[in-house]
């Protein structure tokens, strides 16, 4: 990444461009942060003054907190399923020669490509047709499908860089294939699985497009945030929580990145 090119390029101009773009990318997020500590309920200039009130009021806003807890549960469950299933597919794809490999791979990453609105209404149709009421479970099922490709790609990348001869050696020494997977393969891919789990978790936690169709009466945080957008006086509290959640998400992602690097 750091190999210097043996020719002159106008790096200073590009550096300025990079900084400008970063400023533009962070400006809208910074404005939200400003909203969370602004004393007025409408975000407009001039600002009304600095306050931590919105954060303090969070503890009284049970509906907001409830929706965040809902999201937490959905994300924890769906990311677990996505990671387990994604790891299984990754193991099969990298370790077993079989026909139909391309089909299994295609099927597993296709949820990334199918538009969320299409998958959302299709799942809605499925649940309605079988008389399954909408709930956090239905949201979690949807999220497990769209998070699976992420988990698959992360674990596959790790398995591809891991010498299959280790497994062959174990099996030559008399270990059965399940034992080899348990004793040799799994310990080696645990960091990748943890990273996959954290990624799937954040994917689910932020997901709105599917959840809007699949959430019943108990909303996830993004769905609740969306429903509150037209009530200006309730917004600052929502934004305050969103700011806290954003910081938590970023912390999780940096952790995932660090785990992945450590391997």
């Amino acid at each position: 990444m750091t190999t210097a090119p043996p020719f002159r390029i106008r790096i200073p101009a590009l550096g300025i461009y990079y900084v400008g773009l970063i400023v533009l990318l962070y400006l809208p997020i910074a404005i939200l942060f400003l909203f969370a500590v602004n004393a007025g309920t409408v975000l407009a200039f001039p600002l009304k003054g600095f306050t931590f009130d919105w954060f303090l009021r969070l503890s009284e806003s049970t509906a907001v907190l409830k929706s965040a807890l809902n999201s937490l549960g959905v994300a924890a469950g769906s990311s677990l399923v996505a990671t387990l299933l994604g790891t299984m597919v990754a193991l099969v794809l990298t370790r077993s020669p079989f026909r139909g490999k391309a089909i299994l791979f295609g099927l597993s990453v296709l949820p990334l490509i199918v538009p969320f609105v299409v998958l959302g209404v299709a799942l809605l149709l499925l649940f309605r047709a079988f008389g399954i009421g909408l709930s956090l479970w239905t949201v979690a099922i949807g999220h497990s499908i769209v998070a699976l490709p992420y988990a698959l790609l992360i674990v596959t990348a790790r398995l591809a860089g891991f010498d299959p001869r280790l497994e062959e050696a174990a099996m030559d020494l008399g270990a059965s294939y399940p034992t080899t997977i348990r004793r040799i393969v799994l310990p080696n891919i645990v960091p990748a699985m943890a990273s996959a789990w954290l990624t799937a978790f954040t994917v689910s936690f932020d997901e709105f497009a599917l959840a809007l169709f699949l959430a019943g009466t108990s909303p996830t945080f993004p769905v609740y945030l969306f429903s509150q957008l037209r009530f200006a006086n309730r917004l600052p509290v929502m934004i305050a929580l969103a700011v806290l959640l954003t910081l938590a998400t970023l912390a999780l992602l940096l952790l995932a990145e660090r785990i992945r690097r450590v391997e």
Binding site: L25, M88, L125, L225, L229, T249
Partner: protein, 285 residues
């Protein structure tokens, strides 16, 4: 090998069953449901398959037009995001010194903050009593708020470009990092000036990454419905929004299913084109 067989199935069956039940079955049911001619009876009452919904869809030109508009908007968004991300990828690929990894993470972090929140931020920025208007009023640069900023397709396009830029840099960066520096050295030794080296070596060799970025932004954006919902208003709605409308407000699920099928087929067709174009480039390489 005998030992492997049960393990193979133990590993393959659970994902297959799960994806079959909650990914393929819903899509297949939607395909079946789109052949339902009317709304009579309960959801799963048997029906005689017909192409009635597709006939309606084709007879009303505004649906096709909206799909074309959505594809056009996605095309422009993908083009802008790719062009804007290229210099950043170039900078990160060739800059000297350490901390390049940190600079990359700094670029990617916004992509991992809540999507809904970033789109919402633009609603606050562009609104008639929003940040931009109130700032301009406060500074005395305008007399009354500019209404035209929010609730149109431009607002949707701007927001989407903003959302995609961090991600768009990744495939280009990967392509640039694979570039062999000795090629540039050779070109310089043979007297090629910098602009020529860029146009004849760097740009062609980074083309797979550029095309990768373009399609990775273009394809999902065609089916986008959340951003238009928030910053598009009624004038800025896209094809995805009418699908949503037919499943919620209008509650005409068979017609909504037909609209969805058209969306799905369009997406898969674009994917087929993308796979061909990007792979072809690799092949030439």
């Amino acid at each position: 090998m005998l030992d492997r067989r049960p393990t193979f199935w133990a590993l393959t069956l659970p994902p297959l069953v799960w994806l079959g039940a909650f990914f393929l079955t819903p899509l297949a049911m939607m395909a079946a449901f789109s052949t339902r001619p009317d709304l009579r009876g309960r959801l799963m009452d048997p029906w005689v398959p017909s192409l009635h919904q597709y006939e309606v869809l084709l007879s009303v030109p505004s649906y096709g037009r909206l799909l074309a508009i959505s594809a056009g908007l996605a095309f422009v968004v993908a083009l802008c995001a790719t062009v804007l991300a290229y210099p950043v990828a170039y900078y990160l690929a060739f800059r000297k010194g350490r901390r390049t990894g940190t600079l990359l993470i700094l670029l990617l972090l916004p992509f991992w903050t809540s999507y809904l929140l970033r789109v919402t931020a633009w609603k606050f920025i562009l609104g008639s009593s929003g940040v931009l208007n109130s700032l301009l009023l406060y500074l005395g640069w305008i007399r009354e708020p500019i209404e035209a900023l929010l609730y149109n397709r431009q607002a949707v396009a701007i927001t989407l470009v903003y959302v995609w830029i961090p991600f768009a840099a990744l495939p280009i960066l990967a392509a640039l990092q694979r570039l062999d520096p000795s090629l540039l050295e050779a070109a310089a030794d043979l007297g090629a000036p910098p602009v020529r080296r860029f146009l004849r070596i760097v740009l062609p060799l980074s083309l797979p990454g550029v095309l990768g970025t373009f399609f990775m932004v273009f394809i999902p954006t065609v089916g986008e419905y959340v951003t238009p919902l928030l910053v598009g208003g009624s004038r800025g709605s896209l094809y995805g929004n009418i699908i949503q409308d037919f499943f919620t407000k209008a509650a005409n699920w068979p017609f909504g299913s037909a609209l969805s099928m058209v969306m799905l087929v369009t997406t898969l067709a674009l994917l087929a084109v993308a796979v061909r174009v990007v792979d072809l480039r690799r092949f030439i390489e």
